[in-house]
């Protein structure tokens, strides 16, 4: 996916005018925010689990290399293959080669953000493979040729009517000519089309919520069950995952799973939690003949060693975006790449470059609501500020801001000049603004006055009033 984060302002302006998107975003509160609050408060140890998860993941990250090698060993010993990809391009090449070597033509995909990160669908299609998404949301986006706008509800921006139109168009080819408009009928129709794709597929590509080093398993959680079918029905199962998904034990997984669904959708646990461990063994009833895991780095090993390390704890629950008032106004597409919301504003600049994505860490009020709900306590506002420091230090910050700050800082460090100057300015402003109590417009302050009045000051500054009081007192 070509990043468009540079166009953040234009994209977000468009989103704010999009009535159907705005309608969808209003559902965040009932669908996610309240659901999370209720399920978190129903579990007395929820806050303690968050601490535990943070500490455990920090330990894991400190020895990530060891866990990765242990995981690789285990997968291999069970007849699976492990491949290492430096970036998205390498991942696509590896997956394409696996499919080619296995003479797989038809490929089905379970939801995977790594696939999005790497642009896997486009790459496989251009290599001549037939790819079909099996997660309902991703399937809708495949039909509408869009990227995800949320990490766990990728088609959250789509209304039922839009989906009805899309299905009506696309499903004619499957002999389904009647237009459906009810949610249950739409789901049933998608199920019918997808069922055939599952049965015909040669290879299934899934993501992984966790990779377990002690067993060599991958875990995926879904509410649709498409993950199970993508793992078990095709001849070849390929897992695409990032290196930070490895955790040592099933015990660790159970800790994180208790937090994941509650933080994401408010469920205690998702409808399906699927573990797959290698290819089919001689006495297994079903399963794939080949099992491959492609592990992607794409900047993560660098994050291990820099100020963004804590971001690697992320378990992709989406709570940060559900609670972000900026995301709630502009939706996911405005962020211009794969990952939206607070976690996206930290990750995107690291993956596509700060020059491309510099808007994202700045488009935040640092209100801290994301950090408040992040199950693994990632200090998201602090990491966004770390990007701003990088931006300033690499001189990417606009010169208007740089000179503005330098001038202001000089004044702020010279109280002897600052105080009298401010006193005069405020007194003038107070006289001008007295009648209305506020300004509708102010030179050089259009960023403020475009959307709100500028309240008028009262008059003399406090410092000058206090000085007089001190003189009078003494």
């Amino acid at each position: 996916m070509q990043p468009r984060s540079r166009d953040f302002k234009a994209l977000s302006a468009k989103s704010m005018k999009d009535e159907s998107l705005q309608g969808a975003l209003r559902q965040l509160e009932t669908g996610f925010v309240r659901a999370r609050r209720d399920s978190a408060s129903a579990l007395p140890e929820f806050e303690a689990l968050r601490d535990q998860a943070r500490d455990r993941l920090d330990d894991v990250l400190a020895n990530l290399d060891i866990h990765l090698l242990a995981y690789e060993q285990k997968v291999k010993s069970q007849g699976g293959h492990v491949h290492w990809a430096r970036d998205g391009k390498e991942l696509c090449e590896i997956v394409s080669k696996i499919c080619h070597d296995a003479e797989a033509k038809k490929i089905i995909r379970g939801k995977s953000m790594i696939g999005e990160e790497a642009g896997l669908n486009e790459a496989l299609e251009s290599d001549g493979f037939e790819v079909m998404e099996t997660d309902l949301g991703e399937y809708i986006l495949q039909l509408s040729k869009e990227g995800p706008s949320h990490i766990i509800a990728p088609a959250i921006h789509k209304t039922k009517d839009e989906i009805s139109d899309l299905f009506h168009e696309a499903h004619k080819a499957h002999g389904l000519t009647e237009r459906q408009s009810e949610t249950s009928a739409l789901v049933a129709e998608a199920r019918q089309v997808l069922r055939q794709a599952f049965l015909n597929a040669d290879a299934g590509i899934t993501g992984a919520n966790f990779l377990i080093a002690e067993t060599g398993s991958n875990i995926i959680v879904t509410n649709e069950g498409n993950g199970d079918l993508s793992c078990t029905l095709p001849r070849v199962h390929i897992v695409t995952a990032a290196i930070d998904k490895v955790i040592p034990t099933l015990e660790d997984a159970s800790l994180l799973l208790r937090l994941l669904a509650r933080s994401a959708t408010g469920q205690e646990i998702t409808a399906y939690t699927t573990l797959s461990t290698g290819p089919k063994h001689p006495d297994d009833a079903d399963g794939p003949e080949e099992y491959h895991v492609v592990l992607i780095d794409n900047g993560r090993s660098e994050m291990l060693g820099n100020e963004f390390r804590e971001m690697l704890r992320c378990i992709r629950c989406g709570a940060c975006m559900n609670h972000c008032p900026v995301y709630g106004n502009i939706g996911g597409h405005a962020y211009g790449w794969v990952y939206p919301g607070p976690m996206g504003s930290v990750l995107t600049p690291l993956m596509v470059g700060l020059d491309e994505a510099g808007n994202l860490p700045n488009a935040c009020t640092l209100n801290g609501r994301c950090q408040d709900v992040c199950p693994v306590r990632i200090p998201l506002p602090g990491l966004l500020k770390a990007h701003r420091v990088r931006e300033f230090e690499s001189r990417l910050t606009s010169s208007l801001v740089r000179y503005g700050l330098a001038g202001w800082a000089w004044l702020a460090r010279n109280p002897v000049i600052y105080h009298p100057l401010m006193n005069v300015s405020m007194r003038v402003m107070a006289v001008l603004g007295r009648r209305r109590g506020a300004f509708r417009w102010m030179p050089f302050a259009s960023g403020w006055t475009d959307v709100r009045d500028l309240p008028a000051p009262q008059g003399s500054t406090f410092q000058s009033i206090w000085r007089k009081r001190e003189r009078g007192d003494s």
Binding site: N367, R369, E393
Partner: protein
């Protein structure tokens, strides 16, 4: 005038350095006068160092660490020696309490000073209730108010119950909660001028929540939020009155509210 808990202060008559905050100094000195009164009523002596201007957030939040550190040093030096440092803002006091220390990791001298300052620094309302043990105020304010939780005060300093508890002791005042009182108003320092459209929508949602309470007055503990919300209320033609909580607690809300004209 206070009905006091046994105070937790180190001395009965502490010397408090008032951190005025730049917005209060420039826009609304009455908030600082109210703060002085509230502090003096507890028996504290209030001093206002002249060498203060701003806490440095504009630089800090724009990644300009050089200037942000310079300003932080100036604040640290100006406020050495007071028993306490108190300011009428969760945002500025949150910066002094949590973000100064982070900036001096490589400067042992100022790291120690920053830690010392952090330990002595408080936001005004929480200082009155948690440190000085103030339980009630002897003032009157006729009206129905609703209270907005500023983000830094709430999440960096844990200020939520204190203002509500003490507001309920103001005679004539009734407090009604708005929906999403803890959701950001869209101010965010330079955010509000860098991304005015997004900021405007956030402010607008806040205004709607305020209106839905039917309250005639909005209160909060941070002038940044208050200027933003008051500005947006006026733009929407809404005449809800807007005050800093200190003005009401000190019985000094008899002046025009924020963004209120004087015909």
């Amino acid at each position: 005038m206070y009905d006091n808990n046994p105070p937790k202060v180190r001395t009965q008559k502490p010397v408090v350095g008032l951190f005025v905050t730049c917005l209060t100094d420039l826009y609304r000195p009455s908030v600082a006068l109210a703060a002085v009164k509230l502090l003096e009523d507890t028996g504290a002596t209030v001093k206002v160092p002249r060498a203060q201007t701003c806490c440095g957030q504009p630089a800090l939040n724009n990644g300009d660490l050089k200037h942000s550190r310079q300003i932080a040093r100036q604040v640290i030096d100006a406020f050495s020696g007071f028993d306490y440092v108190v300011g009428p803002s969760g945002s500025c006091m949150g910066t002094i309490k949590t973000h100064y220390v982070e900036q001096f990791k490589d400067d042992p001298e100022y790291l120690e000073k920053a830690e010392d300052l952090a330990a002595r620094s408080y936001e005004l309302v929480s200082f009155l209730t948690d440190i000085m043990g103030v339980k009630s105020v002897n003032t009157t304010f006729e009206g129905t108010v609703t209270y907005h939780d500023s983000c830094s005060g709430l999440r960096e300093l844990g200020i939520h119950k204190q203002p509500r508890k003490i507001l309920k002791t103001v005679k004539g005042l009734s407090l009604t909660e708005m929906h999403d009182s803890d959701v950001c108003c869209g101010f965010g320092g330079t955010f509000c001028v860098k991304y005015p459209e997004i900021s405007g929508r956030m402010a607008s949602a806040k205004c709607a929540n305020i209106r839905n309470t039917g309250a005639d007055t909005l209160l909060a503990g941070d002038l940044g939020c208050l200027l933003n919300i008051a500005g947006r209320l006026r733009r929407e033609g809404d005449q809800t009155r807007v005050f800093h909580i200190a003005e009401v607690l000190a019985g000094m809300a008899d002046c025009p509210g924020i963004a209120e004209g004087q015909e």
